[in-house]
Symmetry: C2
Subunit: 496 residues, 2 copies
């Protein structure tokens, strides 16, 4: 407790400032590279602005996560390759546990919390080892979409990522969805678990199950919300912070503003295929770029296209090629009428936040599924690279530009998304601080994951009831048969 | 839009006040009597203070719901008996639909929302008839605890109300829990559904299922939270407002304050068995009251006991009998050390809010289960009326008074409960207004309840897969047998 006295005229002003250790927490972060790091950094900066100390674990081969002593301290782990895969994480974590000096430092640092992206498994292992609470910044865990690890997920209306299904499925789709789910078991138990389990077996207490460490996370800060995601069962310790990275737009650089204003009433289309894709795969690049450029050239709109490959031969005067674009500031510009996007989560969320309808060109992973969630709500139109040509692309652009349906729907989603009791980022920070204040959030987390799977699904009870029913039927049949036989025998004896 | 200008020195201060129609909504309320009405009235008063118009539907035999034109308009429905049971509601709703004049009024009133307590089924029917959004103020629906109607509820760790089990059950308890669940089917489909379904069949469109009307509610304002309730799966449209009725205490009336202060360092115990029970059942009243009074008389604490029966013969000087007590103000008083309570939700929530440990004397319905949730967290001790005598009661009181474990745990629950991003009542009002602003909250509600039950549980897919597996095994066996026979036959023929 800090105690200060200040004489103010004849009045003694007494200030009591109560200082809690948890008001300024000590957070250990285990992030993932690429777009995941962009998200994590937003949380780190917000935590830093609230006075918390942050330490980030990174690979010595890291290509995205840079040292930034203004916001966080860095602990570097040794790896043979650039981090990202489970093999590299295995190597990094083993190196970490074998480095006695580093482990001493971690043990002595008195961290209050591990904040981890559970797409890789190291964070959960670290939190258990240090015996401190765990908060996930999550959309994917090591084994798939985050909800599947903690919330009941009826496969009859919850489509698996990659299936391209919605929450309304035909019999055939439901069948495929269930088969797809069983296929993920192979990934989960054969490809993913053994490496992490080996670490648990060697460095943690005996009989610690790696998946249980994940399920023990106190709070799951989910990078989604139900304006974007199909409604589905959830758990009390899941906090939805979808769009937490979105913010009002800033003014554009002057040259870009001049270009945008030159579009007049027609407005502007922007096109970007995300942070890691600035051009198409080499085998289709030239053809596709030509088709797209030719379609753009026929429009009265201006176009800003993030494109680093060869200049398309069919490029029109209305199209500006750029290496990089201020995506959020453009999406928030009133002249921007449509967004041609690959469907990465960040871009989709930004489009939704600013209410700009999307023409989707999904490439891989969850991109089709992300775009599908907008298309289902009438806010996007998805095209396929396989069938893409000038005509198809032009038609889709004109539809999204001129049919008010798309813009109205996207604006409606934007209004719903922004109409929350609390901003998603503030909500995320509240719950991280909550976990530090109360040293966990056990009251929000079921311990059902500790049950054997057959007990969780009541299979032992169902088996017992089935056995009892079978026994009852069996005994009844036997008794009836016995009585019947005796009766027949008696009659037979009587009449003989 | 309202536009105001005010000259302030040389500055023109311009105020823009944007007025939305939905800022002042028109709410139709279908409440339930008794303690449910106490809760609903808090919501109504809060909505009224935000400028919304409220109309309350009540029975002409209502014994709790009074006209109160300051806060709401009243529409009176005719019933033969005091409202409360499903039979009376059936009669009231039929009378309502048959009253052409009243129906014209309801249709013309342009309500924005039905706010209903789903313990009775009329609210859901009205919302469907008027084709307006529906918000539930809920803990129980017509068929049981609210969650069971909309969220997946694995019976392996979610105990049914009335079982007295926790979220950690033995095999035998899980078996009983499942059997108990199947028993509720009788109540649900034989006792409850037919009457409401008859109304749907007669006055709504054909093929409207009553239970689907309930499941279609936009928002479920749940009178619970996970400081009180065991953690369990939930849905995006469930908003937890447990303890929304709780508030800081006001000063006590002077005579009571004097009595309380006279307790010195020993403090005060309060005892109340709820709004509807002020004395024990007649057959045990005298004996029990004597035992309780005798136990109180042995304590150095002062006691305030809400008791209207005969004065117990063993009453001590330290015990004050009252007809009514300001429960919230007493629970918030620093001198109050323990609360002897029957375990009604309101009382339990107030004790939790103020952090006062409880000695529980449950009478019926959910009271044991409510108290069990506190006992599990070490914040209450439950006694049974069957085994209650002076010794048992005195021992329990002394344990709760002197073992710091109880108070510490209850204070911890209180801190957790109060540490929310938003006050529960504000949260409830936000979501009611949200539903009015957006004319529903369809994006938060799954439509899985529209699926046939076998499809929801994927039983058709599982059946198909089992059939395919069976067919595959059968064909394999047939083929092997055929080949084997041919082979045997050939060998036989060869050697013969």
């Amino acid at each position: 407790m800090c105690f200060a006295m200040k004489r103010l005229g004849s009045t003694v002003l007494t200030l009591f400032v109560i200082w809690h250790t948890c008001d300024s927490g000590n957070v250990l972060v285990y992030p993932i590279e690429g777009s995941h790091w962009i998200n994590m950094k937003i949380l780190i900066e917000a935590l830093h602005s609230k006075g918390h100390s942050i330490t980030v674990l990174q690979s010595d081969k890291s290509w995205y996560i840079k040292e930034d002593p203004l916001f966080y301290e860095t602990i570097t782990l040794i790896s043979s390759f650039r981090s990202g895969t489970h093999d590299v994480v295995y190597e990094m974590v083993v190196n970490m546990f074998e480095d006695k000096c580093l482990m001493k430092k971690l043990n002595e640092s008195q961290f209050d919390l591990v904040l981890a992206d559970p797409g890789l498994g190291a964070g959960a292992i670290l939190a258990y080892y240090l015996q401190i609470p765990l908060v996930f910044n999550v959309r994917w865990t090591t084994t798939g979409e985050g909800h599947f690890d903690i919330a009941p997920s009826p496969l009859s209306y919850i489509p698996l990522t990659g299936t391209g299904f919605t929450d309304k499925m035909t019999f055939k789709q439901r069948l495929k969805n269930i088969l797809h789910y069983f296929l993920t078991f192979y990934q989960k138990y054969v490809l993913i678990k053994p490496k992490y389990q080996a670490i648990c077996d060697k460095y943690l207490q005996p009989k610690v199950d790696f998946f249980e460490l994940q399920q023990a996370a106190d709070i799951w800060l989910m990078r989604a919300d139900f304006v974007f995601e199909f409604p589905r069962p959830t758990m009390p310790n899941v906090v939805y912070m979808g769009g937490f990275q979105c913010k009002p737009s800033n003014p554009l650089p002057q040259d870009l503003e001049v270009f945008v204003q030159s579009s007049g009433d027609h407005g502007v289309i922007i096109m970007s295929l995300g942070a890691s894709v600035t051009q198409f795969p080499p085998d289709v690049a030239a053809d596709l770029s030509d088709e797209i450029a030719a379609a753009f050239a026929e429009l009265p709109q201006k176009v800003i296209w993030r494109h680093t490959g060869d200049k398309p031969a069919t490029l029109g005067n209305n199209t500006l090629l750029v290496n990089w674009l201020p995506q959020n500031d453009l999406l928030g510009h009133p002249k921007v009428k449509a967004f041609v996007a690959h469907g990465g989560t960040n871009g989709v969320q930004e489009a939704l936040y600013h209410g700009v309808p999307v023409v989707g060109l999904p490439l891989f992973f969850d991109q089709y599924d992300n775009l599908l969630r907008l298309q289902q709500r009438g806010a996007a139109k998805i095209l396929s690279f396989e069938t893409l040509d000038k005509t198809v692309f032009l038609q889709a652009l004109q539809e999204v530009l001129h049919d008010p349906f798309y813009r109205m729907n996207m604006q409606r989603l934007s209004r719903l998304h922004k109409d929350q009791p609390m901003k998603p980022l503030d909500q995320a920070i509240f719950w991280i601080e909550f976990v530090m204040r109360h040293k966990g959030a056990a009251h929000l987390r079921t311990e059902s994951y500790k049950m054997p799977w057959y007990a969780y699904h009541s299979l032992d009870v169902i088996g017992f009831l089935a056995f009892m029913a079978f026994t009852a039927v069996f005994l009844t049949v036997i008794s009836i048969r016995y009585l019947f036989c005796r009766f027949c025998l008696k009659r037979k004896m009587k009449y003989e």
